[in-house]
């Protein structure tokens, strides 16, 4: 019988009621009394020298209150990179300063060089048009190889190179990896592009800065996945505002997918402008602006080689990647292609030798950072594509080649050659499961049916693993992280036994308000309805690191469990006092405290009331009140894994690809709310199919983006994706967090792109068309051209 509440129940989401009735409070929905509006002047060239900006005409426009330029920020700090990467030669990465508004040069189309504040949004926009900026266009640096070779034309003149770093993982293993390739009986190699994506959370970014001159307090309402991180970045690095004077509030947020992790210059500008004019300043991003300012994702060019014996046993993997940073280092841009990518290059396989090289490159394009999956989709794509190619070369079945290389259940904990320690897993189980739910046995018949219609049908497999629930602070600190990656929760029990849980994690679609309540309800044996989840406001929540990297439940959920355990420990003492028993004899079960072996019992509500009406407490031993906090820093990453099977039909005459079936079997460890987990997988797979077949940010040779709206950037719509068959019944619980959970948010986006592309190749090969690779997005024209070339 499925449970109807607590852990394991598909509790309906409580947040849905406000979203379904138009009562959600997104940042754009907030109006602050006396608010004014900001609009930004943005570069129309990819690379240019700012000779002058004449603001006089704009200042004279109706309603204009202030004009800010980069000079207003010359004295403050820059927006920092959150992770220091060290190059192979021991040198630290190059880290140019990033000002909220450009100073001296503009470095990508959309780079903001001025802001106008006016009474209305329309007036602010009109005044931006009146700004007279003399920007001398320079040659744009767009191609990564050219950027590395050409040291005369630099995105950042002061660092003397366009190369941010040249990273090797693990450098000491390189010689052994090269030796393994020298002697390998078979080597498969593949060059591929991991296409640049625009995250496109449906809610564009919005920020409202509000400075109170009477107190010196700043309040920032903003679309953030991690309000405390944003506060820290603005306070400590960019603007020098003491944290006690800055409150960051991220209310309902309409999706993030990584793009709302980062601090963006607009946030600093609305705060500075608010102080300057002594009124609140609101900025609402357009979608067109979002395309050229929200950090993009992916954008890798990779050469991968796989060495095997003749039977397809993996001997070594070697990769060389160019990773585009864009024009500036967004906060977590540097870690994405390195520690979130290189460390995953072993996959779920026991490959003994792995070496990864990544060169990160500045170009005159929009900054690139973590986007759903962040590095792990890139690793999985390279690996699963080269394995597929290798299987074809050696004539080995695509399931079989994976099975023979899987790390086996009795090998855990398993240390990979790229320095991760996988705690648990059973990769055969998820592969068996996907074969079952995807009815792979029936594939041959379905292929025949497709062929009868003149279509080619392909089956693509991908078996993926990720390191998520990031992460142990001690480990990431050693690797260069400039932040801790714990999370935090406070449980406040009210006098009548209801309670509020304040979380460092932020919900922007994940359903925390429901799921976290399920966890606490289970632990305390009380109804979910008695529990309120509070998130998003730094003045209310403890200092936690927010939500990204599939970490909310694994890290913040663990903090919630720890805080709840502290509540139970204290409540047990209070109950013992109430029942005049020894605390050691009091047991807590199903929401009641009982003295073992007696019929003495107190409900959780009774104990809570007593905590706040402590008339005869022994105050030396027992404090009144019932409120506890916990900070949880995990011992390791978590390692969800799974197996995906995609079926496509390809029209050989037009190159059109139709995804006709998609099955996903995942191991997320224990699952709190199966309905929510299914939804996360659906969404991730939808984005992965988008990457594989449709989406790509394209710049021309001058750095002009050609994909600046939904007219040009192909977002997956309902008709572009199939119904998905998903399963998460294979469960090897995480061994090191109290819930045994692993994280599910990114899985779909990690595992699906290679499954789709492998299916396309399989379809073409089945028609005798010898195409071994097509780069994403696998558009009809690319497929058609590949077919023609193979003829």
């Amino acid at each position: 019988m499925p449970k109807d509440s607590g852990i394991g129940a598909s509790s309906k989401r409580r947040e849905d009621v406000r979203f379904l009735t138009g009562k959600g409070k997104y940042t754009a929905d907030i109006s602050v009394k006396d608010q004014t509006f900001a609009a930004f002047a943005r570069s129309s060239v990819a690379h240019g020298r700012i000779n002058s900006i004449d603001i006089a005409a704009a200042e004279a426009m109706p309603g204009v209150l202030a004009v800010l330029t980069g000079e207003d920020f010359a004295e403050v700090g820059g927006n920092p990179a959150g992770w220091l990467i060290t190059s192979r030669d021991g040198e630290p990465m190059k880290e140019p300063k990033r000002s909220p508004l450009a100073i001296g040069k503009v470095r990508h189309v959309g780079d903001a060089y001025a802001a106008v504040i006016a009474e209305t949004a329309a007036q602010a926009r009109d005044a931006v048009e009146a700004l007279d900026a003399d920007i001398e266009e320079l040659d744009a640096i767009v191609d990564m190889s050219e950027a590395i070779e050409n040291s005369d034309n630099l995105v950042h003149d002061e660092i003397g190179t366009n190369l941010c770093y040249d990273w090797g993982w693990i450098e000491d293993n390189k010689a052994a990896v090269d030796a393994a390739f020298e002697s390998a009986p078979h080597v498969t190699s593949l060059e591929l592009v991991n296409n640049r994506l625009s995250p496109n959370a449906m809610e564009p970014r919005v920020s409202i800065g509000d400075y109170d001159a009477s107190t010196g307090d700043y309040t920032l309402h903003t679309t953030s996945q991690n309000p405390h991180v944003t506060r820290l970045l603005i306070g400590a690095f960019v603007m020098g505002i003491p944290e006690n004077k800055l409150t960051v509030i991220a209310p309902d947020v309409g999706g993030g997918f990584g793009s709302k992790i980062y601090h963006y210059g607009e946030e600093a500008v609305v705060l500075a402008a608010s102080k300057k004019i002594n009124r609140p300043v609101k900025w609402v991003c357009d979608r067109s602006e979002a395309f050229v300012t929200d950090a993009h994702g992916r954008d890798h060019v990779t050469k991968i080689e796989l060495a095997t014996d003749k039977e397809g046993n993996f001997l070594a993997v070697r990769t060389e990647t160019q990773a585009n940073m864009g024009a500036y280092l967004s906060n977590f841009a540097t870690v994405t292609p390195t520690f979130l990518h290189g460390t995953l290059m072993a996959g779920p396989y026991k490959t003994p030798h792995v070496y990864v090289n990544v060169k990160a490159v500045f170009t005159n394009t929009v900054p690139v950072d973590a986007y759903r999956g962040a590095g792990r989709p890139e690793a999985t794509y390279s690996l699963e594509r080269v394995i597929d190619k290798c299987a074809r070369e050696l004539g080995i079945d695509q399931l079989e080649i994976r099975r023979k290389n899987f790390i086996q259940p009795d090998q855990f904990p398993y240390t990979t050659p790229v320095a991760l320690v996988y705690d648990t897993g059973d990769y055969d189980a998820t592969l068996d499961k996907v074969a079952e739910i995807g009815d792979l046995a029936g594939f041959a018949a379905r292929r025949e049916a497709s062929e009868a219609k003149g279509k080619l049908r392909g089956l693509g497999i991908s078996t993926w693993i990720e390191a998520c629930g990031i992460a142990p602070s001690a480990l990431v600190g050693q690797l260069g992280a400039r932040v801790g990656l714990f999370d935090a929760a406070t449980v406040r029990v009210n006098a009548t036994g209801s309670l509020a849980v304040m979380t460092g994690a932020h919900s922007h679609g994940q359903g925390h308000e429901t799921v976290f309540a399920q966890v606490v309800a289970e632990k305390l044996g009380i109804a979910e309805e008695q529990i309120e989840i509070v998130h998003g406001d730094t003045s209310k929540i403890p200092f936690g690191m927010g939500s990204y990297g599939s970490r909310s439940l694994a890290v913040c959920g663990s903090a919630i469990v720890r805080a709840t355990e502290k509540i139970i420990a204290k409540a047990t003492k209070i109950a013992a006092h109430m029942m005049e028993a020894d605390a050691a004899d009091v047991v807590f079960e199903n929401g009641n405290f009982t003295v073992a072996g007696t019929d003495k019992s107190k409900s959780f509500g009774d104990v809570a009331l007593c905590a706040y009406v402590p008339h005869n407490f022994p105050h030396e031993e027992l404090e009144p009140g019932l409120e506890e906090s916990a900070f949880y820093d995990p011992a390791n990453f978590t390692y969800p894994a799974g197996a995906y099977a995609c079926e496509v039909e390809v029209d050989p005459d037009t190159g059109e690809v139709d995804v006709v079936g998609f099955a996903a079997a995942d191991d997320f460890g224990n699952v709190i709310n199966p309905m929510v987990v299914n939804g996360q997988v659906h969404g991730g797979v939808g984005q992965g199919i988008g990457q594989a077949l449709m989406e790509c940010v394209v710049h021309d040779g001058n750095g002009q983006p050609l994909t600046g709206s939904y007219m040009d950037y192909a977002m997956p719509r309902a008709n572009d994706v199939p119904s998905y068959v998903v399963d998460h019944s294979c469960q090897t619980p995480c061994t090191h967090n109290p819930l045994g959970v692993k994280g599910c948010g990114e899985a779909g986006a990690i595992g699906s792109p290679p499954a789709v592309v492998n299916a396309v190749i399989d379809a073409l090969q089945s028609g005798g068309i010898n195409v071994t690779h097509v780069d994403m997005p696998v558009s009809p024209s690319r497929v058609w051209n590949a077919i023609q070339a193979a003829k």
Binding site: D16, G254, H508, G509, S709, N719, Y724
Partner: protein, 162 residues
């Protein structure tokens, strides 16, 4: 600046707008009805869908002045009279047809328009009809399921469908 009068979710409302004021801005800024969302600036995403005189319309694509005298229904007008969720809204909650909720008002309004035109749509018809609505969170699977469930519910008890 012109004055306009219209019926919003059954109530008479009025306001003064600029000629260039879009309906969505009039609803959000002028009337404080922020349930209707703006997800793009090219009429592509459907977050802004409302009904005007019973027909679904992208409210970012019409000027408020054009609507003088019209009947407009927004997501705020979709609940039952007692405040409980309407059939479509309830189906979205039951089938997890939303995550961040940003596309949701437009999805619900579009679903309502579809079910008015076609009381028993197939999965393919639903997917086709949602062509003008983008959701980045759900991968559409549960949105389709929600709409199918709402159709089934309405067909089972036609009164509720009203």
């Amino acid at each position: 600046m012109p004055d306009i009068n219209l019926t919003l979710n059954g109530q008479a409302v009025s306001g003064t707008v600029e000629n260039r004021t879009l309906l969505v801005d009039f609803l959000r800024e002028g009337l404080g009805k922020t349930g209707t969302h703006v997800g793009c600036d090219t009429g592509q995403c459907g977050a802004c869908v409302v009904h005007v005189d019973g027909v679904s319309v992208k409210s970012c694509n019409v000027f408020a002045v054009e609507l003088d005298g019209s009947k407009v229904t927004t997501i705020e007008g979709m609940a039952n009279a007692d405040g409980s969720l309407g059939v479509i809204q309830q189906a979205f909650q039951d089938h997890h047809g939303l995550q961040c909720g940003f596309c949701t008002p437009g999805m619900v309004m579009t679903a309502a328009a579809l079910l008015k035109e076609n009381s028993d749509p197939s999965e393919a018809e639903i997917r086709e009809y949602l062509d003008g609505n983008i959701c980045r969170c759900t991968g559409y699977h549960n949105i389709v399921k929600s709409i199918q469930a709402a159709a089934a519910e309405m067909n089972a008890s036609p009164v509720a469908a009203e």
